[in-house]
């Protein structure tokens, strides 16, 4: 079990409302990612669910039971903090065993569970070290180990990978996804990195200034963003937005087109411009094009596309992949009815 329901939840610090009334349902076994820019209230929302902050109003139910007033320990949730929050004076073994000791389990059961968790997380040979003697990735695993031994109804992660280097981050991302697949426990994962959100989530919750902008599967958000904020936030490099005359031609105040949906040509096309920067990655080429009367557009070409600074190129949007927005930034007549789900 691990269903979490937020009903009209709000949170203010003093007279600053960080979370305006918010409803959200997280299904059993789902991997839900809260994503949004820094300071938008992701951590606050997670801490409300964990019970580390009191809600200002509204209610939280976990598995159908009202948990709004329950202390953190009784909610059956486990949290992995951004700083890992390990206990530096305890060995890895004692760190992982701590929640079990607090639950007053007998020693044999504790040992068994700690050994099992250590095995899953490849920590067996580090059990007698202190956290200070471990690398960042190993510390992260200890924090996860401390969470899984409790067999919680749901895991809460607050930007757990942001202190790791890029290569390790990709690794840990996979490990957490595998962990979710093997445990099948509900996980709520907070990040400001849309790549993490897209790669890991069953369901993404896009937050902006405490408000939920959109909830949906990664591909849903990618192909049918409800507004300009979501459209700009999801996808990398971000979507190109075109306003003014060119947009009005397409019957909207603003049109958006992703770099991968702009065809590049050195001969002809809808818009022409000069290349300012071209990034050659081998697998892809990202070309920044200065277009007269529109501004800079980014286009992606698969494989190598041999253009350089100053070259003239033509860009043509795939019309069925165009996103149209009204003056308020809301999507109108959702981009294309028959978007192929990749």
């Amino acid at each position: 079990m691990g269903q979490i329901t937020l009903d009209r939840v709000t949170k203010s610090f003093g007279d600053i409302a960080v979370i305006p009334p918010l409803d959200l349902t997280i299904g059993n076994g789902e991997f839900v990612v809260f994503v949004g820019p820094s300071g938008c209230g992701k951590s606050t929302l997670l801490r409300l669910i964990a019970g580390l902050e009191d809600v200002s109003s509204g209610s939280i139910r976990i598995d159908g039971k009202d948990a709004t007033a329950l202390p953190p320990a009784q909610r059956g949730l486990a949290m992995v903090f951004q700083s890992y929050a390990l206990y530096p004076h305890m060995t890895v073994r004692n760190n992982i065993a701590f929640p079990l000791k607090m639950a007053r389990l007998d020693k044999a059961a504790i040992d068994r569970k700690v050994e099992a968790a250590a095995k899953v997380l490849n920590l067996t040979s580090y059990l007698d070290r202190r956290p200070g003697q471990l690398s960042g990735g190993q510390r992260q695993r200890v924090a996860i180990g401390r969470a899984i031994v409790r067999e919680p109804t749901a895991f809460l992660f607050d930007e757990p990978l942001s202190n790791l280097d890029a290569a390790l981050r990709v690794n840990m991302r996979l490990e957490i996804s595998e962990l979710h697949a093997s445990l099948g426990t509900t996980m709520i994962y907070v990040t400001h990195d849309q790549v993490e959100a897209m790669t890991m989530a069953d369901k993404i919750v896009v937050l902006n200034a405490g408000r939920i902008e959109q909830v949906g599967s990664p591909i849903d958000l990618y192909s049918r963003p409800r507004n300009r904020f979501v459209a700009g936030f999801i996808g990398s490099p971000r979507m190109n937005f075109i306003e003014g005359e060119a947009a009005r031609g397409d019957g909207a105040d603003c049109i958006g087109i992703r770099p991968e949906h702009l065809a590049l040509s050195t001969e002809s096309g809808r818009w022409s411009g000069t290349v300012t920067v071209s990034e050659h990655l081998g697998s892809d080429t990202f070309v920044y094009v200065q277009v007269e009367g529109i501004g800079t557009l980014v286009a992606r070409a698969g494989g190598e596309f041999p253009v350089h600074h100053g070259d003239r190129v033509w860009l043509t949007p795939q019309t069925e992949k165009l996103h149209r927005f009204d003056a308020q930034g809301n999507a109108v007549s959702s981009a294309a009815p028959g978007v192929k789900v990749a």
Partner: protein
């Protein structure tokens, strides 16, 4: 600072300070050592003569020495326990947000700035005095017999006075340590099911271990030489009830005019202090390598 040249320059520029400090410490120490082997009484000037270890023999077999040794240990130990326990309690209180916290923090530190003689006089005459003191007035107000602190429980009273002086120091160091405790660590423990008591025992106390070691070390150095508080309140009495080693050396040299015996006592005190220092260094070595 790694080349031979820069090391030589460093030594050269350091040497005046080192020589000055060595002279400052070694000359008095050497003189004390020398005096401790002499019959040197201020009432018999000009009759100093070499008497070997006789001064040490007298000092170490004097029943007052054992009393003083016990009193010194009781004083140091008692004050350490009280200041660390009290300091942790106060630090925990002061770490919470409450109205007027700034002022209260300032007031808590105040006793540290009062010189020992003055605070001992205030305690003796204004608080503990069985006739005029505040405590006596309170006792009388409650219909109780006033308690003559310095006569009935002299050593405990001095421990109380010295604790009052050193509590701010301990509180300050422990509060700083407490503020450096990552709040996420406490929250993690809370989520792990640790109640307030478990969090205190398993998270807060271990985090404070280093600060407690520092407090112990620094206070011990100063507490071994407590003197003014004793001189002002009890003069080491009644009998030898509040005589510590420092006061005994003073009494020997300047009340009995036996400079030789006093010097021997001083050297004994130096040896004892070094034994304590070795113990403390071991303890610190263990505590600081987390």
């Amino acid at each position: 600072m790694a080349t031979a040249h820069s090391r030589a320059a460093a030594r050269l520029t350091m040497s005046p300070a080192v020589v000055l400090l060595l002279g400052w410490m070694l000359i008095p120490l050497a003189m004390t050592l020398y005096f401790s082997f002499l019959r040197y009484n201020l009432l018999m000037p000009g009759q100093e003569e070499w008497i070997g270890v006789l001064n040490y023999q007298y000092f170490l077999t004097d029943p007052a020495f054992f009393a003083a040794l016990g009193n010194t240990l009781a004083l140091v130990g008692g004050v350490l326990v009280l200041t660390i326990a009290g300091g942790i309690g106060l630090a925990l209180l002061l770490d919470r947000p409450f109205w007027g916290r700034g002022i209260v923090r300032l007031l808590i530190i105040a006793p540290f700035f009062v010189m020992p003689t003055v605070s001992a006089l205030v305690w003796k005459n204004m608080l503990m005095n069985p006739v005029n003191g505040l405590f006596a007035a309170i006792a009388k107000g409650l219909g109780l017999q006033p308690f003559d602190f310095l006569a009935e429980a002299p050593l405990s009273s001095i421990i109380l006075i010295v604790t009052w002086q050193w509590l701010p120091f301990a509180t300050l160091i422990l509060l700083t340590a407490l503020q450096s405790l990552d709040s996420e660590r406490l929250e993690a423990a809370e989520m792990d099911g640790a109640g307030a008591v478990d969090r205190f025992i398993h998270i807060i106390l271990p985090h404070l271990a280093r600060a407690m070691t520092v407090v112990t070390l620094i206070q011990t150095i100063f507490l071994l030489s407590v003197f003014a508080e004793i001189l002002v309140t009890t003069n080491g009495g009644p009998g030898t009830a509040t005589t510590n080693i420092t006061y005994l050396v003073y009494a020997q040299s300047l009340l009995q005019f036996d400079v030789g015996g006093g010097s021997a006592g001083g050297i004994v005190a130096v040896v004892l202090a070094n034994i304590v220092a070795v113990f403390l260094m071991r303890m610190i070595g263990r505590n600081l390598d987390i």
